[in-house]
Symmetry: C2
Subunit: 339 residues, 2 copies
DNA sequence: ATGAAAGCGCTAACAG
DNA sequence: CTGTTAGCGCTTTCAT
């Protein structure tokens, strides 16, 4: 924990007997420096324990090499996968992710976006398409590519890489109806902050009505993140208030698994007595007994597509706003009953 | 996606009819600016859509307001909790987390640390106490507080907030032995990169030997992150090769849950025929049927303590290196058999 | 409470 | 392939 001032390029230049500019070039990939000079500089740098100072580089070159990313929660496998996809795609270009989480709150998101923009990122990726007015304005005026993900906003700010949460649930409803089920319930999506959850519930209600079915079997699960525990509690309420329910769609695999455990503790057979579906294709759903019927929204692919889009936009001249749809896939497994 | 140059403090100064220095002061909390002047400046800033440029501020003030953090994986609830604890603790002081993940690879960690140090963080928090020689050197010479977490390294680089993975498992072994179990197995901890997993397995072997028991019931689970699936596969091998095993300790709750599902699919009763314990107190363990006996290492508390330590060290004058132990707690639940 | 001058460490731009 | 000059946008420092 020494505290003397760290060495600069000027220090290296002195030791290596060259100009600071040559030192600067020696640290760039493509720069034209003779091999001998470069080696001498690298050696001098190691000898004096030099560490490149991005701060100065960023200011002078007006490039931060940051891509800002906001996700609702850091503790969520789906969003983590999207960040991994982003990170992998951006790494080759030396872009680093500056990550922040919003706790599923658009006001917190607004604060976060402002914080992140101060770091002058090259682009910003946000989760969801609903923002405060001020956040929208900040993003619009940022002068950098903006990418909204995990949604298909009606009025996008810039680019979009996402899918319709409502449509995905509609497919699940159709699946259950095709099985002959009529009394279908939905758990979650009742809280303000959870726009994706709300969209899923809205999609459920619309799909049920379109099928001419009763769309009032809705069980609240509280504010996101919806835990397994909350899924279990919601299932307890469902079984008590609407015991004749034939199938239930949960806002996520985590709540679906919680719901499943509640059935197990009560001796309610899944899927024989009640079928369960989740959302998100979390690992738990593939391995639980019974395994969970769910929807895979391809979170990693969303991140990978967003990364590729960023690279394209930063390279090429300004094109129009792009909308990339990553279509979710129904995964029919044990908890959903016969195919 | 406009691309004209963003406004600077000089622009605000011109509009508000003051000097750039006054603008700078108006954006600081404690600075001495008259209320009227400040309001005029804030208004001018909003009018022209000014966004503060940290990049320039950082360079001039030699303060980045970053704390660098490395974790093995972004997709892990335990490490996510530690990051949340850190983040919450650092937020009040306006410190932002610059997060990177190592994929459980100390060479990747070395690259990452170098990347992060270029951003000139105020402090750096790393997960684990094993690093490449070069990474150690980088950290030692960084001239900032270094905090190793999730471990109790023999030769710490700087500060430590962690616990002994080996001792925690020793307690679990003692618990099973106290129940009269003798044939105890361990799943995981066989891979190079997973230092915490290896420490846990080492602790298992040492504890078994100390009890005079056979410490050879070791099942490999592959490279981290150890998934639920890998836990299930390992349990399959255990049941086939050592069917008389009475209890198994898994390297994490995720593999433990996988192991549990394998038993369920085979009709092997847990805990009657074989008891299962995990590590980490993930949510799955509290809700699965049966619930999982496990060890809570208090991940959020590790982060909170690390944050508090950073604030103390950055404030006060250089004290000696601190070692904070966050003692893990045994959670006896259904999968572990009678208490 | 406000301003003027200088400079943080690097690199764009230009020169050779 | 290498050097010189200037300056990125802010804030430290010193004045007033």
């Amino acid at each position: 924990m020494q505290s003397r001032k760290p060495p600069t390029m000027a220090d290296i230049a002195r030791v290596a007997g060259v100009s600071p500019m040559t030192v600067s070039r020696a640290f760039k990939r493509d720069a034209s420096v003779s091999a001998a000079t470069r080696n001498a500089i690298i050696k001098a740098a190691e000898d004096i324990g030099y560490v490149f100072d991005s701060t100065a580089s960023n200011l002078r070159s007006q490039r931060s090499d940051f891509v800002a990313v906001t996700i609702p929660s850091i503790n969520n496998a789906n969003f983590a996968d999207t960040v991994r996809g982003l990170s992998e795609g951006l790494k080759e270009r030396g872009l680093q992710i500056l990550l922040g989480y919003t706790d599923y709150d658009i006001h917190e998101e607004e604060r976060l976006i402002e914080q992140l923009l101060r770091r002058r990122p090259e682009a910003i990726v946000v989760t969801g398409g609903r923002h405060t007015d001020r956040a929208r304005r900040l993003l619009q005026n940022a002068g950098i590519p903006v990418i909204e993900t995990w949604d298909l906003p009606k009025d996008p700010i810039g680019h979009v890489v996402g899918f319709s949460n409502a449509d995905a649930v509609k497919d699940m409803v159709a699946h259950f109806v095709g099985q002959g089920k009529r009394k279908i319930a939905f758990i979650g999506g009742d809280a303000d902050g959870d726009t994706r959850g709300t969209d899923r519930r809205t999609g459920f209600v619309a799909a049920m009505k379109a099928q001419g079915l009763d769309a009032t079997r809705l069980i609240a699960a509280g504010r996101p993140p919806i835990s397994m525990r909350e899924g279990a509690d919601a299932m307890a309420r469902l079984l008590e208030t609407m015991p004749d329910t034939e199938a239930v769609i949960c806002v996520s695999d985590l709540s679906a698994f919680g719901a499943l455990t509640e059935c197990q503790r009560r001796g309610v057979s899944v899927p024989a007595r009640i079928a369960i579906a989740g959302f998100g294709d979390y690992e738990i759903g593939a391995i639980s007994v019974p395994s969970l019927t769910t929807i895979n929204p391809f979170p990693h692919e969303i991140g990978a597509q967003a990364a590729a889009l960023i690279l394209r936009v930063l390279d090429g001249p300004a094109q129009g706003a792009t909308v990339i749809t990553v279509k979710p896939e129904l995964l029919l497994r044990e908890s959903g009953g016969q195919r």
